[in-house]
């Protein structure tokens, strides 16, 4: 076990740096994905209505727009699930590691 560190030393600790940069990268990537998902959907409505109006298949009444809209809802939830998955498996372990080094 390494020696206990003060708050100031901890900030310079490679584990803490690793933890904060990983968290920032994951948060920002997922935020961008969510923005692309939603504003992509809005852009389709604004610029390509005929695409959304197409039928799913011959003889079906369901337009492509319906699964895309529901997919945006489910996709948003899946993104929160990915974050949880990452945080539980990686982030929490790093947090514990850094916490243990604290005096």
């Amino acid at each position: 076990m390494s020696a206990k560190k003060t708050a100031h030393e901890l900030l310079e600790d490679p584990d803490f740096r690793d933890l904060s940069s990983q968290k920032n990268v994951v948060s920002i990537i997922l935020t961008i994905l969510e923005l692309v998902l939603y504003f992509g959907f809005i852009a389709l409505i604004a610029f390509n209505k005929p695409f959304l109006a197409q039928k799913l298949s011959e003889g079906s009444a369901t337009s492509i727009g319906i699964p895309i809209a529901v997919g945006t809802i489910i996709g948003s939830w899946v993104l929160t699930g990915i974050y949880i998955q990452w945080a539980n498996s990686k982030y929490d372990k790093l947090v514990d590691k850094v916490k243990n080094k604290f005096q």
Binding site: A7, E34, W77
Partner: protein
């Protein structure tokens, strides 16, 4: 094949004994919970944050409860039943803010804050100016949202229970004061959880009953919807016309969710950042599921009840859900769902009141007036006085705004939350060089720009301020059109069989002449239409940009070395939770 019935007998709008029975049962059980909670509410931590004893799953339900208002349940089902696919677009917009809350806000908020989001913004900045500004932002959001909810409550309860508007508002306001005053956050959370379970359960049952009419196939449901209302019903229509407007509304919905004080407050009720994060995962799942149910209910109501009947009872379609419940489950189910809708309104206004009271007592009284020096006893006392004051204000404003078009207030709430609260919060968490002056100017800029632009927008400037001029123009246009149509119809009548070709051509020429004559008249009238000073319906894109830009510029012009030096300590607490409030 189920047909849209031509006429229906409905109990909606009458004093429905089943609904009243269910509602009384809800009130009694929630008051019992409040009584139980009152015994456990001693300290500020109990009153504002339920003693930080709420689990991630419970908080997920409570967050979902705060967000699934009666307006979204009845309103989105109504919008889908009358406008089809456009209603679905709208519901997607309400969900997408939640992942943002999770990725950027939830964990830092829990680790850095105590009871209000102003705790986080002021963490390394000057307490008094920040708390004054943040509390102003919170209170404006809370009060505008409260007015919208109260007026909605009065109208909906009148429609569903046949109670007079004022009586409905006074009942709602009094119960809300009782929950918050005696039971604080513990009672408010449990009221929210019970309501969320009832609402999700009721909506699930309604969807199962609906789909059973279509052999549990969405394909069949959409087929019938297409048969009744053409394929246009299942395609994007007129809701999104201007891309910039759509983008602006999307921004306000997305980041407004991450700036609503009654939502942010819930992250202080869980024991740690891990539970805070978990609660957003559950909340997003529940809310997404709920919107999918609501959209199904909307399409189901359009097919099984029919647009004519839905719009005959309420033009906005708000009664689509209750009407469908009545058609499928009779009076018993209608009564249950009406009671759930009432409970929903109650729970949402309680959460708002508590958020407003905490901004008042924790930020304004303790932070600004007492400069951080106040006993817990005094703080709880002020919070309770603020609760009663806000409750009475909400009742009075609700009655004052009776019959007014308050839909714009929801837009205003989200625009202000996205512009005044969200930018300051996110910059204080992420940006080392953020200063007190930057935060204060960002909050006031967001607040002012959002409010002023919304007043100058088509939603308020044309539809409310120049309502009579707009109506006059519309009437003049209709008058010209009707007169012209009557003339044309008269001419058409002269076209009897056996008329000689020359006479026929003469009549056709007169018809075209009439059409040509009326067109410039209509154009001239339409030119008199009052024009908005600001073209977009939602100011989000400009007000958010203003808040970020001003916050950044002011911080860069006058750097604050003290605040900068405290950023490292903040980071340690933000990421690791060292020193976070127990």
């Amino acid at each position: 094949m189920p047909q849209a019935p031509q006429a229906a007998q409905t109990m909606i709008g009458t004093a429905n004994p089943t609904a009243i029975m269910f509602f009384v049962a809800f009130v009694i059980s929630t008051l019992l919970i409040t009584w139980w909670a009152a015994k456990r509410t001693r300290t500020t931590k109990d009153f504002y944050a339920a003693g930080r004893s709420v689990t991630g799953f419970q908080n997920g339900l409570a967050l979902a409860g705060d967000y699934m208002s009666a307006a979204s349940f009845l309103g989105i089902a109504g919008l889908v039943s009358t406008k089809g696919y456009d209603g679905l677009i709208y519901s997607v917009g309400w969900l997408v803010g939640w992942p943002i809350v999770m990725f950027l806000i939830s964990e830092p908020l829990r680790n850095l804050g105590k009871y209000t989001f102003a705790d986080v913004v002021s963490y390394r900045l000057n307490q008094r100016p920040i708390r004054a500004a943040a509390a102003t932002g919170s209170l404006v959001v809370v009060i505008t949202y409260l007015i919208a909810q109260m007026v909605g409550a009065g109208t909906l309860i009148k429609l569903m229970f046949g109670l007079p508007f004022e009586v409905a508002i006074v009942i709602t306001g009094s119960l809300m004061i009782a929950y918050v005053l005696f039971g604080g956050m513990i009672a408010t959370t449990w009221v929210q959880i019970i309501k969320a379970v009832l609402l999700l359960g009721g909506a699930t049952l309604l969807v199962i009953l609906t789909l059973s009419k279509f052999g549990f196939s969405y394909g069949n449901l959409f087929h019938q919807a297409e048969n009744l209302y053409t394929n246009k019903f299942l395609e994007p229509g007129g809701l999104v016309t201007s891309p910039v407007d759509a983008f602006s509304l999307g921004l306000a919905l997305m980041f407004g969710t991450a700036g609503l004080p009654h939502i942010l407050m819930r992250f202080f009720t869980v024991p740690d950042a891990k539970e805070a994060r978990k609660s957003v995962f559950y909340a997003t799942g529940f809310i997404g599921y709920f919107y999918i149910l609501t959209v199904t209910i909307g399409f189901g109501a359009a097919v099984l009840v029919g647009q004519k009947i839905i719009m005959g009872i309420d033009k906005g379609g708000n009664m689509a859900g209750p009407l469908l419940a009545e058609a499928l489950g009779g009076n018993l189910f209608l009564g249950f769902l009406s009671a759930v809708a009432f409970a929903t309104i109650l729970a949402v206004v309680s959460g708002l009141t508590l958020a407003g009271a905490s901004a008042f007592s924790h930020d304004l009284f303790v932070g600004v007036v007492r400069r951080g020096q106040a006993s817990e006893k005094d703080e709880v006392k002020v919070a309770k006085i603020a609760t009663v004051g806000l409750g009475i204000t909400a009742i009075l404003l609700g009655i004052l705004f009776k019959g007014q078009n308050v839909a714009f207030l929801v837009g205003l709430t989200f625009a202000i939350a996205a512009s005044a609260n969200f930018p300051a919060l996110v910059m204080s968490i992420m940006w080392k060089k953020f200063t007190t002056a930057g935060a204060v100017s960002s909050i006031y800029a967001g607040l002012t720009v959002a409010t002023v632009l919304l007043i100058l927008s088509p939603t308020v400037w044309v539809d409310i301020v120049h309502k009579s001029e707009k109506a006059a123009v519309e009437k003049a246009v209709t008058d010209i059109e009707t007169a012209s149509k009557t003339k044309i119809a008269d001419l058409e009548k002269q076209k009897v069989a056996g008329l000689e070709a020359m006479k026929m051509a003469e009549i056709d020429a007169s018809i075209s002449a009439e059409k040509a004559a009326s067109e410039p008249l209509i154009k001239a009238e339409k030119a008199k239409m009052p024009q908005p000073i600001f073209p977009l319906k939602n100011p989000g894109i400009y007000s958010m940009a203003a808040a970020f830009l001003i916050g950044i510029l002011v911080s860069l012009i006058a750097p604050d070395k003290v605040a900068e030096s405290k950023y490292d300590a903040q980071k340690l607490r933000e990421y690791v939770g060292i020193g976070a409030e127990d």
